[in-house]
Symmetry: C2
Subunit: 338 residues, 2 copies
């Protein structure tokens, strides 16, 4: 006990010195010497707030058409994403970038590929009012919610008054998203000491993942999500997608093609890959990352090992009853689908 406390203090000090997120370092210390830590089994949440947030997450009336909800593109039946290269928005507009998974997104350093939202709450307000996505406005979305007695009641239960603001609505959505973690993957079982939880090939993949440098960016609880990194360190990434990553936020030339490192948790479910969604298989993703980030040509057997390891990162998917939404009434603004 005393030893782990000292380790923790040392970790914090070291992390302050080298300017890395201290939580990551602490968690590393907590699971021993591995650079990846298990997903928590549970998180502390405000259950009523998360329940309200779940309903909002599934409610297509937050979109102008009445057809698109958060779950349309971050589909919890599909690993928290939509499994298409770039999402379908209002009137079938093509989205600019691949929808990142909502699973384990609470572990992210910031939200969106370019990190333009500091947290899940700030993120949740974006798509609702984006004319290419849900195409509503915060005002209209709130008018819809305010017109529905059951929502007013739930907001009162959660926040102490019936007032419905975008801050309260997105706060509830974020609280629901905080519950969307995926513990108990085979790799986490292995991390916790069950040495039979992964096969020899999967373990070889993990060792290669560490020795070849993947783990430099893909580490921590979410096996990613903790930093921004340049895509194409040793060789540029060839894409038609105009996204410039972190540069869009900082306007700093050095941030061109710098993106948030995506989580590799549940990566088997969250295809297609990369910010443009142009990489269709895990094998191709591994191969390309080796070439452009590490200057390595992985052999066929190395790729197989890495892919085998990555597939051990699929955890228990969030399980909950499909929410039933309260009906609109004559005061509710009408959807405008066409």
């Amino acid at each position: 006990m005393k030893k782990s406390l000292s380790l923790l203090l040392i970790s914090v000090l070291v992390s302050l010195l080298v300017n890395t997120p201290w939580t990551l370092t602490v968690l590393q210390a907590a699971t021993g010497s591995e650079p990846i830590s298990p997903v928590q089994q549970m998180v502390k949440i405000n259950a009523k707030k998360a329940e309200l947030g779940k309903r909002l997450y599934f409610d297509p009336r937050l979109s102008k058409s009445g057809f698109i909800s958060c779950n349309s593109c971050h589909n919890l039946s599909l690993g928290g994403t939509d499994n298409i290269a770039t999402s379908i928005g209002h009137k079938w507009q093509q989205g600019p970038i691949n929808a990142p998974t909502v699973l384990n997104s609470s572990y992210n350093i910031a939200q969106f590929w370019n990190g333009r939202a500091k947290d899940l709450k700030e993120q949740a307000g974006g798509p609702i009012a984006n004319p290419k996505e849900m195409a509503s406005t915060h005002e209209l979305a709130l008018e819809v919610l305010k017109s529905i007695p059951q929502y007013r009641k739930e907001f009162a239960q959660v926040y102490g008054s019936e007032e419905i603001t975008i801050d309260r609505a997105t706060g509830a959505i974020a609280e629901f998203e905080n519950t969307l973690i995926t513990p108990n993957s085979r790799f986490d079982q292995w991390l916790k000491g069950n040495k039979k939880a992964i096969s020899a090939e999967e373990l070889a993949g993990y060792n290669l993942f560490k020795s070849s440098g993947c783990v430099g960016c893909h580490n921590g609880v979410a096996v990613g999500g903790g930093s921004f990194q340049k895509l194409g360190v040793l060789k540029p990434y060839s894409t038609q997608n105009p996204a410039q990553g972190r540069f869009e936020v900082t306007q700093n030339e050095a941030d061109k093609m710098v993106f948030k490192v995506p989580t590799l948790r549940n990566i088997e479910l969250t295809y297609p890959y990369f910010h443009d969604g142009e990489v269709k298989t895990l094998k191709d993703a591994v191969s390309l990352m080796g070439q452009i980030q590490l200057g390595k040509e992985f052999s066929e057997s190395e790729k197989s090992q890495l892919v085998a390891f990555l597939k051990t990162l699929t955890g228990d998917q969030p399980s909950f009853p499909l929410p039933i939404l309260p009906p609109s009434n004559e005061k509710t603004p009408q959807p405008e689908p066409f």
Copy 2:
């Protein structure tokens, strides 16, 4: 006991003589003299088949885009419909008709507004291959399912072999839909003897519903769904929608504007109303039905009573965990969203 058996036999005989569905008559006898019968508490189903069907119902890979599932337009968070006048299909095409609720649809005499599918299994194949809806083909949809090991395994468990046919897939979807019943509405509680389950105004609404003739078509377990009837018996229904109803199936002039009578179960949730989805509130729906079907101008208080009664028909919504779908792999045909 002996008396109810005789009643049942008499009901069957009478129904055979007058050519009405005998099940309806039996159920009427079973609940005494009321023309509406309670929704069953449970139905006998093949649980594994329904579980597979649930996954298929939520799987957007049955559509060409990879974005639209059965649940997109028959959304079980929204009373089994999409709450917009006519549905959004592939590439945001506007659907021709209002999406009917899937709830209690197993009680329907036939499926679709014009009854062109004889049962839920036949219905389920329609939207998948309709270029305006999910825009896939049965061949492509089956190729997707066949490529996914977990689906092959589930089909084998349900049907005894891994073979995946459209007949087996739609059979499973229909089995899931058989579970989508909504028992325990306040009205059903009243029917079963709890006289406090509905208010005096709601009861007045029910009595008016019977005395003014609504119940002539809206009867049986589903309070509708049991027959085809002309829309606009006493006055034509004014609409821009080109649908001709039963005529599209029979080519019989007398069947123009003859539609399947919709269920009124959960009607509070399944707005907007009529086959064109142009009637936005229950009050307007009641008023219009009085005028065009019964030649009656309901007073404001009569409308309120009728609406109050109709809202007692909302039952327990199906509750089940959101299904988690098995991932695609390199053999799975790619979606074509754009």
